[in-house]
Symmetry: C2
DNA sequence: TCGGGGGTAGACTGGCCAGTCTAAATCCGG
DNA sequence: CCGGATTTAGACTGGCCAGTCTACCCCCGA
């Protein structure tokens, strides 16, 4: 029989890629058969590279999250402009089809992989809140923003930036897709009003 | 053999109750065996009352959502007090263990029951946004709040009220549990600052 | 030339599960 | 007292799936 054994290159990578796609589409229910089939690889090959389905899942999810997480630092400069640039970048990632899918996959596997998911959650939104809070702290010290709880401020801003949009996408609801820049601008302006330095009493 | 067939009363209700508990705990993966076992009912009895597992799920989830949804109307009165009362009620429901569990269950079954979930999503946060927006519209017309997009304002307030808290609970992250009233007060005050009537130019 | 590492296809095991079916038991109305 | 409706326990089917195993193949280095 002709069993064409092509160069044995990145079989592992092909498996990982296929797994990422399928886990994001179907969650952990994606079957090993489906994964190896999409990777174009034999069953045994899969078990040569990974201990079992769980460990593949862990690795695949880690990759996905790493991609979406990548640092998103807040540039100092004119307050409104910095926040606006940050906001647009944040929304782009958090609301991307991939970002939402990862989120959904993680949420549905909290029971099975509680530790992994807590870890990734800390790396994700956790770090995002942290770096934003540091930026806001600085602005508060400069007197550009009113003195307040910096972490809370960061959480509120991030929450407003996504609004109901991520939740709706998690639930499969489509959105009319309105003007991104206008929307984000309104949120940022609102936030700046909310944290404008207190007017000194007469 | 003694097969004690006790009074055949609310078997259906017992099944529904067991299903609600298990679906919220384990999602759709909860097996029919587990459900009938918790309900203390025979396998066939289940199929006497429900067509199949899917229809039980649909009915159980509908019940759960109905419980969490129950109207939450905004009372007119002093703006800050009304919003505060509303906010506390909203958080109580949306952040309750049950509320979070339903949310998680719905999110993980978007693929299987897309229509059901879109429907429930509209009844849930959808209505919440709507009624809050109406209240805010009124306040804007009265001049208590600045003129703005009422729906957006409602979405932003709701988003801030949950902050990162629901997301974290969805992912199984525990929170230090700080002072509810203080927190909500800060958010409401911030929101009121954000939508305070614009100061007329000199 | 030969042997082993990694590959392929596909059969197979064991487990779980949804849904059906049987046979016997209980209750209730007529 | 009888008969139908509902219940029970438990066997059974058919399907899916994770993971193992067999048998064969191909390339490359010793």
């Amino acid at each position: 029989m002709n069993h064409p054994a092509p160069p044995p290159p990145g079989n592992r990578e092909r498996l990982l890629l296929a797994a990422r796609e399928l886990f994001l589409e179907q969650g952990y229910d994606a079957s090993v058969d489906a994964i190896i089939s999409r990777a174009g690889v034999a069953r045994q090959t899969f078990y040569n590279h990974f201990q079992n389905k769980e460990s593949l899942f862990v690795e695949a999810v880690r990759c996905c999250v790493a991609d979406v997480i990548a640092p998103l630092h807040v540039n100092p400069g004119k307050m409104r402009d910095s926040l606006l640039a940050f906001a647009i970048g944040y929304r782009k990632r958090a609301l991307s089809a991939e970002g939402v899918a990862i989120y959904r996959t993680l949420i549905s596997q909290v029971q099975r992989f509680p530790d992994l998911i807590r870890e990734l959650s800390g790396q994700g939104d956790g770090q995002m809140i942290g770096s934003l809070a540091i930026f806001l702290r600085q602005a508060m010290n400069d007197g550009q923003l009113r003195e307040a709880d910096d972490v809370l401020a960061a959480e509120l801003l991030l929450a407003m930036l996504l609004g109901q949009e991520r939740n709706q996408r998690l639930l499969g609801v489509e959105r009319p897709e309105l003007d991104e820049l206008t929307l984000v601008g309104q949120v940022i302006d609102g936030f700046l009003r909310m944290y404008a330095p207190a007017r000194r009493a007469s």
